[in-house]
């Protein structure tokens, strides 16, 4: 029942070798009173290292070639936690859930561990031979498949390859890499330019099927810039306004002030109709003034158009990458029409972005025709992710070689497998989505003597082997002239190295080419990258599999999202299995009913249904890629057949309704300004309560949290950061089904309005650290008690497990170790935070406000002899939050943001009337509604 997920035991010796030595032992050991007896000093201690004190290094994590700067916490040479890098433009100090979980993927037991030839271990020499042969005859018959990359080193090598091995073909490909937008922009600008957004300048933003704060490579920056325009202090605050027009709910949809549901194929039409409105307003040539919107849509299209015109240059219209090129052309036209200063264009940071080499088709064909002698696949997992109409017949190649870090489907399909490197193990120089140059440095020696992409390409070119660091250090002056390598390493980015925007001229003839006739099919299917598993590359990461989806709260599965109305029409409910057929290809998948989903549409996440050697990923969900064809794209007409079978889905929050309780108030900016009813309603949920209990002492630091729901998108990065920081265990699908998930922080999401567009607000819910905590007085052994600085402390080793505290917690934020959930051995225990006790079976646990960070800061302050400030501490959830929705500090310090938030008119406490006096307060969700739309 509690089978540790995807682990293989390591021998004790290996274990210590990997763990680093000395004090690390104390960190890994669990919550047992029998300590390790051995103590191992270094033979020679690295000078920078003090056992027990964490060291931090800057590096970059890469997805589809785009870098996100991070700072990695290491303990005795063991990476344990990843934070965003404030100095990196693609991070600004935040990360997504995916980056948080990357540290676990590093220790993934199913990584490729040895060079193999058809499964038989072999040596690097044999690989060199293969590559030498592939070099022969100017590389004829050799095909290389890379993931899109921005690596400057790879760039150099590829240039040389093009020169010296002209007969070889190089293809760059990843399923969700930008293609449509580049093609669209090529058609209007003549060059495959990339869109850059300056959301901090935008007053009105229209997202057309675009999850700009979610799955965009620059999402973290977008989220921050967007949120900085929504810090509501009171009713007179100025806010930007976001219209989200999308098929299925996305974090962007949650943040939106207005959200409208349309079918995927209608997005183009909406764009076209907006253009028509602008034409009517005289913004563009009048011949574009048709077709005008009709029916119910007319009202809001017109309203949005007027809003846009009013905002003029301070507006932005963004189309999502799932939309076809023509829609991107249209949208480029819209922004041009508005003379938007918030949307600019620049060349992509990726090598050969938008060129023919980014098309998988030719390679697929060549393989099918058996024209490939040597196939070299570097990274990615094309056997799994290739579209159904471009499947790669790898076995048709004479020789195939895979360089990758994980034993996935592609590795299984290739003859030779070479262990790749995790981002935390390698040296490289890459670019962020805005072109910022970001160095990558290893945090730990390669665990399984992996080889880097550059090493492979260099060997192919016949270069002499070079140590990875030398390769980078030697190339640096050449690649980034006039900058200091070491400064760049220390900072994690080269300052102001972003590629500047280029002036563009719109070819209006190309703008309106879109047929603008939506599909007539009864049902449409929309395929999306999973918010955590992405294209399936993270599917072997149990942290991400157990992280509830931002909207559906589904774990350990993917399911076809369908609107309540459509579900009713089809007579299906959550869990019923439906058969979806696209162009003759059929897939059986459970349905899940989601308010706010466009009617007559299904949305299915990719990334599940993995079949490789990765034990955790295998058999979880079904692969939506099987319904994906390049011909139809990510949205396709679909036939639906309802089966009579069911599958119980592990959903952590079944309820959508507020059950007319007032735990989550929300208002419009106008109401907050001058609607006395709303203001008093909010005021009723804060302030002093009549009580017989004594007032809680307010001396010294008094920790408190304030969460701004206006900027919470439910992206769940905080949940993952909390799990990573606090060693919370993964419990598996069976346990989640019985509501035994262990996340200390859950993101409650409720539908806050009656209409079918279903406005959703998210309310992060963790221990509220009540001053009159109901959990404390019922514990028979005082295992949970109150500290003088206002923390509700949970002392695991004192807990006997009566669970009385959980019963009496009105917020039900306490988690219980029903079984021995902790891992005892295996690689992944190395990801644990040594400063946080690993909990035993039978004890209660919960959010501690990251007490280990508080106490650390206290000690540092006292040792340095400086006063302990109310903002010296940042909790893991606060630090990771892309929109900075979470603030933390001392209430006893007038200079902290928390203290100031308490004075705002929309400050409230959940279940205030229960008199628990929670230390976590919320700022009510405020929407900046367009008065025209009410």
């Amino acid at each position: 029942m509690t089978k540790p997920i995807g682990l293989d035991a390591l021998s004790r010796r290996q274990f210590f070798k990997l763990a680093g030595i000395g004090a690390a032992a104390a960190g890994i050991a669990g919550c047992s009173s029998r300590p390790a007896r051995d103590i191992l000093p270094y033979a020679e201690r690295p000078p920078e290292l003090t056992p027990g004190v964490a060291t931090y290094y800057a590096t970059s994590l890469v997805q589809d070639g785009h870098a996100t700067g991070v700072i990695v916490e290491t303990h005795e040479g063991r990476p344990t936690k990843i934070e965003g890098n404030p100095d990196h433009p693609a991070s600004l100090g935040a990360t997504r859930a995916i980056e948080q979980a990357a540290v676990l993927s590093l220790y993934d037991p199913q990584r490729t561990r040895a060079i193999t030839d058809r499964g038989v271990p072999t040596s690097w020499a044999s690989i060199e031979r293969v590559l030498a042969e592939a070099r022969a005859d100017r590389g004829r018959g050799t095909q290389v498949l890379l993931e899109p990359t921005s690596s400057l080193l790879a760039g150099e090598l590829l240039a040389r390859i093009r020169a010296t091995l002209p007969a070889a073909r190089v293809t760059f490909w990843a399923p969700f890499a930008a293609r449509a937008s580049l093609a669209g922009h090529r058609s209007v600008f003549g060059r495959p330019l990339e869109r850059r957004l300056a959301l901090h300048d935008a007053d009105v933003i229209v997202a057309l099927d675009a999850d700009l704060v979610g799955d965009h490579p620059f999402a973290l920056a977008h989220a921050r810039h967007f949120a900085d325009r929504r810090r509501v202090v009171d009713g007179d605050s100025r806010m930007n306004r976001l219209y989200a027009i999308e098929t299925s709910y996305s974090p962007t949809g949650i943040l939106a002030d207005h959200r409208f549901r349309v079918r995927p194929s209608e997005i183009g039409l909406v764009a076209r109709e907006l253009l028509a409105e602008l034409a009517a307003a005289g913004k563009v040539a009048p011949e574009l003034a048709a077709p005008r919107a009709t029916g119910p849509r007319a009202r809001w299209i017109a309203a949005i158009a007027r809003d846009l015109v009013a905002a003029g240059g301070r507006s932005a219209i963004i189309a999502g990458e799932r939309q076809p090129a023509a829609v991107h052309a249209l949208v480029a036209g819209l922004n041009a029409a508005l003379a938007s200063t918030c949307v600019t264009y620049a060349p992509s940071a990726l090598i050969e972005a938008g060129e023919a080499s980014h098309d998988l088709g030719p390679l697929a064909t060549a393989l099918a025709h058996g024209e490939v002698t040597t196939l070299i696949i570097v990274g990615g997992n094309p056997s799994y992710t290739a579209p159904a109409d471009q499947g790669l017949a790898i076995d048709r190649a004479e020789r195939s070689l895979y360089l990758g870090a994980y034993a996935n489907e592609t590795a299984a399909a290739c003859h030779y497998v070479v262990p790749g490197l995790h981002d935390l193990e390698l040296w490289d120089v890459v670019r962020a989505a805005d072109g910022t140059i970001s160095p990558q440095q290893p945090m730990i020696e390669p665990l399984f003597d992996g080889h880097s992409t550059c090493e492979l390409l260099a060997t192919w070119l016949g270069d002499k082997p070079v140590a990875a660091r030398e390769r980078v250090e030697a190339a640096w002056p050449r690649l980034v002239p006039g900058t200091s390598f070491h400064q760049a390493l220390a900072r994690g980015a080269v300052a102001s190295s972003a590629t500047p925007a280029v002036p563009v001229e719109v070819a209006w003839s190309a703008v309106a080419t879109h047929a603008a006739t939506p599909s007539t099919a009864a049902y449409e299917l929309e395929l999306r990258a999973h918010p955590y598993l992405y294209d399936g590359r993270h599917a072997n990461n149990p942290w991400l599999l157990e992280l509830p989806d931002p909207i559906t709260k589904l774990t350990w599965d993917n399911a076809a999202q369908v609107s309540p109305r459509t579900a009713a029409r089809l007579g299906i409910k959550t869990g019923d299995i439906v058969a979806l057929a696209v162009a003759g290809r059929s897939l059986e998948v459970p349905a899940i009913v989601v308010p706010g989903q466009a009617d007559a549409t299904f949305t299915l996440y990719c990334g599940f249904g993995r079949t490789g050697a990765e034990g955790v990923a295998r058999g979880v969900g079904v692969s939506a890629f099987r319904l994906w064809t390049t011909a139809l794209g990510f949205a396709a007409p679909v036939e639906v057949a309802v089966t009579d079978r069911q599958r119980t889905l592990a959903i952590t929050q079944g309820h959508w309704e507020l059950e007319d309780r007032d735990q989550l108030p929300s208002a419009t900016l106008a109401e907050l300004g001058h609607d006395p009813r709303v203001r008093s309603e909010l005021a009723r949920q804060r302030g002093p309560q009549p009580t017989l209990l004594g007032k809680f002492s307010q001396t010294g630091a008094q920790w408190a949290m304030s969460i701004d729901l206006t900027t919470c998108s439910g992206c769940s990065a905080c949940v993952m950061a909390c799990a990573a920081e606090n060693n919370t265990p993964v419990v598996g699908r069976e346990q989640v089904l019985n509501s035994r998930e262990m996340h200390w922080l859950r993101l409650d999401r409720y539908v806050t309005g009656p209409d079918e567009d279903a406005p959703i607000a998210v309310e992060p819910m963790a221990c509220q650290h009540c001053e009159n905590a109901p959990c404390e007085y019922v514990c028979p052994v005082e295992a949970t008690s109150h500290s003088d600085d206002g923390l509700n402390e949970m002392t695991y080793n004192r807990c006997v497990g009566t669970r009385f505290c959980s019963n009496n917690c009105p917020y039900k934020v306490r988690r219980f170790n029903w079984f021995d959930f902790k891992q005892h051995s295996g690689l992944q225990v190395l990801a644990r935070n040594p400063d946080v006790t690993v909990r035993d079976r039978g004890v209660m646990e919960k959010c501690t406000y990251c007490v280990q960070r508080i106490r650390r800061a206290e000690i540092d302050a006292r040792e340095a002899g400086r006063p302990f400030q109310g903002h010296d501490v940042r909790t893991a959830c606060q630090q990771v939050c892309p929109t900075q929705a979470i603030t933390f500090g001392s209430l006893n310090d007038a200079t902290t943001a928390v203290t100031e938030h308490r004075t705002r008119p929309h400050d409230y406490a959940v279940l205030h009337d229960q008199g628990t006096v929670p230390r976590t307060h919320y700022l009510a969700r405020i929407r900046n509604r367009n008065p025209e739309l009410g």
Binding site: E659, Q663, V778, P780, E782, V800, T802, N807
Partner: protein, 453 residues
């Protein structure tokens, strides 16, 4: 005048010798086949019980259906139910003794046995349901090397104290009452081995006037101690719920309500057990229809207290205007996911006992027996309502989740029935379960009253 005035609490005027023969011989007469079969079944379930306890200790209480929010489940229900059963025993033997309800004498040993074994079942659960039972001793105040003490504001340390006290007092009370009869067995048991064993157990009882005087004093003293326990123990148990802030838990009516409920279910179980026992051991003359009538009336009284409590609970929920209480008591319990348990409970606890308005029903053993079973079921479901139904729907809808017992939960519950039955069968087998000496005494009193009359 006491009920002993009605001479139908003892039929005929059997001589001391006859009484001895009838009541003591049960310990050496060969047991019937029925007894042996029952014994086998109960042993089997006892084995199951301890197997499942071991399993739970090895793997953790994740083996049960509990979850968050339903952190408590079967274990607590069973605990409250079993401890409640015990109360009738103490009520009959202690309170009725103090109130000089002499008719109790024929059944008090029997009910004390029941109390003792029920408390043993109950005592298992507080330990079992702990996440780390091996630290259970932390609930008791003792000077530890950690320099820590239990939390006196919590109900649980008091619970631990109350239950253990209750067990000890019940044990002493039961044993003390039995001493003269053990001596009787020492003198009459057929084999020397038995006589020696019973002799040791009799603690050298000789039946001298002095010993009888001390015995009476001690017995009365223990009765005096046991009497407040009847009220205190279940009141403290009820605090496990009423000190919380949870809708459906935090109810000031709980202490008296729990005590009444306890005695209610207790009397029901006495009936369940004594009706067959009386038949097998042919005790129609000692345990008479009058006894049953009186017990049926007690059930009815307790049932009305329960009805009153239900009404008050629901009324107060509405009257409080607290939306969480109203949802829990008025919407969710009667109409929610667990509605069927609510209505079954109402039927068993409120309707069934109304049968006893009719004298015919009170004297019809079949009806009595079935009714008693239903009442036991009803009282168990009442605890289910409180423990599980309240937890599964509390303040924030986001945390709502239902509770389903696992096969381990069910197995442990069944196992306690087996274990209880096993102990009870042994009790019937090896000690006189009708107090011989007191019966003789009662006969004496009855005769004297006749003369007086």
């Amino acid at each position: 005048m006491t009920t002993a005035a009605h001479d139908d609490v003892l039929l005929g005027r059997p001589s001391d010798h006859a009484i001895n023969e009838q009541l003591l011989s049960t310990t050496w007469r060969p047991m019937t086949r029925g007894w042996k079969i029952l014994f086998a079944i109960c042993s089997a379930f006892t084995v199951l019980l301890f197997a499942l306890i071991t399993l739970t200790f090895m793997r953790g209480i994740g083996m049960w259906g509990n979850n968050i929010p339903n952190a408590w489940g079967f274990a607590i229900i069973n605990f409250v139910w079993w401890i409640g059963i015990g109360h009738a025993g103490t009520f009959i033997s202690a309170i009725m003794l103090v109130l000089e309800q002499n008719w109790r004498t024929s059944i008090n040993r029997f009910t004390e046995g029941m109390t003792l074994f029920a408390v043993m079942q109950a005592g298992l659960f507080p330990l079992l349901h702990l996440g780390r039972p091996w630290f259970a001793y932390w609930l008791f105040p003792y000077p530890s090397v950690m320099g820590t003490w239990p939390q006196v504001r919590s109900a649980l340390p008091w619970d631990a104290a109350a239950v253990s006290t209750y067990f000890l007092v019940s044990l002493m009370f039961w044993y003390l009452g039995m001493v003269p009869d053990l001596a009787g067995l020492r003198d009459r048991a057929p084999t020397r081995r038995r006589r020696i064993i019973y002799g040791i157990c009799a603690l050298g009882w000789r039946g001298s006037t002095q010993q009888w005087r001390h015995h009476k004093v001690a017995y009365m003293l223990l009765a005096g101690i046991a009497t407040p326990l009847v009220v205190s123990v279940h009141s403290i148990v009820s605090l496990d719920f009423s000190i919380t802030a949870l809708p459906g838990y935090h109810s000031t009516i709980f202490p008296p309500f729990f005590v009444a409920g306890a005695i209610f279910s207790g009397f029901a179980l006495v009936l369940t057990l004594i009706i067959p026992a009386r038949r097998w051991f042919k005790l129609e003359n000692v345990i008479t229809l009058r006894h049953f009538e009186l017990m049926a009336k007690m059930c009815m009284v307790m049932s009305w207290i329960a009805i009153y409590s239900y009404v008050v609970e629901i009324f107060l929920a509405w009257y409080s205007g607290d939306k969480f209480e109203i949802y829990q008591q008025i919407m969710y319990r009667p109409f929610g996911f667990y509605a069927w348990t609510f209505w079954t409970m109402i039927a068993c606890n409120c309707l069934v006992p109304q049968l006893f308005w009719s004298r015919r029903m009170r004297r019809n053993l079949k009806v009595l027996w079935i009714a008693s079973l239903l009442i036991n079921l009803g009282m168990w479901l009442e605890r289910f309502e409180i423990v599980v139904v309240s937890l599964s729907r509390d303040f924030l809808p986001s945390s709502w989740h239902t509770y389903m017992p696992t096969w381990v939960d069910l197995g442990i519950l069944a196992g306690t029935f087996g274990f209880f039955g096993l102990l009870f069968l042994l009790f019937l087998r090896f000690v006189p379960f009708v107090p011989v000496a007191e019966i003789k005494q009662m006969r004496g009193e009855l005769e004297r009253e006749k003369v007086a009359a």
